[in-house]
């Protein structure tokens, strides 16, 4: 029972992070039908920027909770700007081109950001300062729940609810959903599709930066290739839920987090990733549109 609850909490924590990052993939895909391969790297860039903000603002001293908030703010702003710039430079010129051109451009952007991080911060693993947050822990039926976990789970939940409300209950959210269904029709209805696209490249990377910083804080480390690893997981989560579908990404993230946590508890960890990828392939075959995605009939 203790193990079960422990894995449940661990899974929810990681799942919340996956979901935050997965939202960026799914929103961009929904509106542009593009897999933004650079998204994972943007998120980890967010972690690095947050880390640098923390250490430089602390000026050698010990960073406290207030500085942590500052780190989040700086990181979110920088990454949102980077996201918009990325769209302008690497994706907008290719909207009418062969889909594969945009895919390669996205792969190039990923390579550029990942290696840019390495050039600035170096190839070594950076350790996040300890005691950033209260070391308070709670004990529940033999499981230990840390303050960080509670914070990540709650913050992810709040952000997801906020995004859900924004997309479903505001005018601009309706515009996003309309553009996702049919860009041309949306344009004819007077929706500024460029603004919609810019907005998903603000919201997605902003949430991703928070997710990236959570990864850094939770695992207490950051290294330049991390974007691929976590990006891929989040991407799988987005597919699992049905790529292009916002609640799907949330569900997919949480489920994948739980799946990983329980798999780690019962399967040898060296095969755990293989099982995750196997699961991905099975889902693609059985239900390619994911758990919440709709089936799209091809018109002849």
């Amino acid at each position: 029972m203790g193990t079960f609850i422990q894995q449940l909490i661990n899974g929810l924590t990681v799942g919340g992070i996956f979901a935050l990052i997965a939202l960026g993939y799914t929103m961009v895909y929904g509106v542009m039908r593009l897999i933004n391969f650079a998204h994972g790297d943007l998120c980890i860039l967010g972690a690095f920027i947050g880390l640098t903000t923390l250490t430089s603002a602390a000026g050698g001293g010990h960073p406290g909770a207030g500085l942590l908030l500052l780190a989040f703010v700086v990181s979110v702003i920088v990454i949102a700007v980077a996201g918009v710039a990325l769209e302008r430079i690497a994706y907008r010129p290719l909207r009418k081109a062969d889909r594969l051109a945009a895919v390669v451009s996205a792969l190039g952007a990923s390579m550029m950001i990942e290696n840019g991080i390495m050039l600035v911060w170096g190839p070594q693993v950076h350790v996040f300062p300890s005691n950033l947050l209260p070391a308070t822990t709670w004990h529940l039926a033999g499981a230990t729940i840390s303050f960080v976990q509670v914070m990540i789970i709650l913050a992810s939940l709040v952000l997801m609810i906020a995004l859900y409300l924004f997309v479903n209950h505001t005018r601009f959210g309706t515009a996003i959903r309309a553009a996702a269904i049919d860009q041309d029709a949306a344009r004819l209805m007077g929706i500024n599709v460029n603004r919609v696209i810019a907005s998903v490249f603000i919201i997605g990377p902003a949430l991703g930066a928070i997710g990236g910083l959570f990864i850094g804080i939770y695992y207490r480390e950051a290294y330049f290739t991390m974007g691929w690893t976590y990006g891929l997981y989040a991407f799988i989560a987005a597919i699992l839920g049905g790529i292009g579908n916002i609640p799907g990404a949330m569900l997919g993230g949480v489920l994948l987090g739980l799946f990983n946590a329980f798999a780690a508890g019962y399967v040898s960890s060296s095969w755990q990733d293989a099982i995750t990828f196997g699961l991905l392939i099975v889902i693609l075959l059985v239900r390619p549109t994911g758990l919440l995605g709709e089936r799209v009939a091809e018109k002849v």
């Binding site: 062969d98 594969l100 190039g108 990828f277």
Partner: protein
């Protein structure tokens, strides 16, 4: 026809490279030949059939591992392992294609990424103790031809260069045969192609088998060149590079794919001193090429009748 003759001449001139270059550059030329074969084989699946294969390193890796295992454990001569490596890779390609071709576009791309990841993890986990885990397999022998040991870098280069020549000939013939055209019909409009009688499943499976088989050949040559194989040579990033070569060079274009290979594998050797900037610059270059020339650097020419 003129292009084909020019190509043949360039290839023939390439045979003289070992006399003009020092041994480290001959090895660069050998790697170029090996990666060119791999990229051309990816082009069959991605550039010609239009199947978004982002896991091509799997077949390259299978070829390398089959040769490494057969040679180091059973002492089978390298050249005899080539047909086995090609057949195993082609078989796996055909097998994986069965589920893959039911998927469309991006979903297929994601599934091939998944297969690549599983392949690497499987090699690392050393199933049955035959893949050597993360360290891989070392001590792969040198090929012997008519009792002659192809030990020097130059002789290995010639082996690779001849293999590349053979693959180029196949690719050239592919353009002028029904199977090659069927790939293009499917890529352009699968529904229209099927109403003309193109059996999509059969043609795509063949494309996978052929592309995988040729990648398997390149894998053998790779294992011989390095005399060692390890999972890190077949990571998903290798597949991404192969994918990018085809798109950046020009889909379905032999000169395009060769040029793309040269850019991705030879140019970095020239700037070896700036190694750490390499991928950063690559990334920028990939974006720039796509934005400025989305059809690729040397796109396929329309074939006149």
């Amino acid at each position: 026809m003129r292009r084909a003759k020019l190509g043949t001449l360039i290839w023939a001139a390439g045979l003289a490279l070992p006399f003009a270059l020092d041994s480290s550059w001959v090895s660069v030329a050998a790697f170029f030949a090996i990666y060119a074969i791999t990229a051309l084989s990816e082009d069959i699946i991605l550039g010609r059939a239009g199947i978004f294969d982002m896991g091509h390193a799997v077949y390259f890796g299978i070829g390398a591992y089959v040769t490494a295992i057969l040679n180091t454990t059973l002492n089978i001569p390298i050249l005899l392992t080539i047909p086995v490596a090609m057949l195993v890779a082609a078989g796996v390609g055909a097998l994986l294609s069965a589920p893959l071709i039911r998927l469309r576009g991006d979903y297929l791309l994601v599934a091939t990424i998944g297969f690549n990841a599983i392949f690497v993890l499987a090699m690392q986990n050393n199933p049955g103790g035959i893949t050597g885990g993360s360290d891989g397999i070392t001590g792969i022998g040198v090929p012997t031809l008519f009792g002659l040991q192809l030990e020097s870098q130059s002789s290995m280069f010639w082996l690779d260069w001849v293999a590349l020549g053979a693959v180029l000939l196949l690719m050239h013939n592919l353009d002028g045969c029904e199977f090659g055209r069927a790939l293009r019909y499917l890529k352009q409009d699968e529904l229209a192609a099927s109403t003309l009688g193109v059996d999509a499943r059969k043609v795509k499976t063949l494309a996978f088998a052929l592309g995988a088989g040729l990648a398997g050949l390149a894998g053998t040559l790779f294992a011989v060149q390095l005399s060692t194989v390890s999972p890190s040579s077949f990571l998903f990033t290798e597949s991404v590079t192969l994918f990018a070569i085809v798109i950046v060079g020009g889909q379905g274009s032999i000169p395009g794919v060769l040029f793309g290979t040269a850019l991705m594998f030879v140019v970095p050797q020239i700037f070896r001193g700036l190694a750490e900037y390499r991928y950063f610059v690559f990334g920028i270059a990939m974006i720039a090429v796509m934005v400025l020339r989305p059809q690729g650097l040397l796109p396929r020419k329309r074939i006149a009748t």
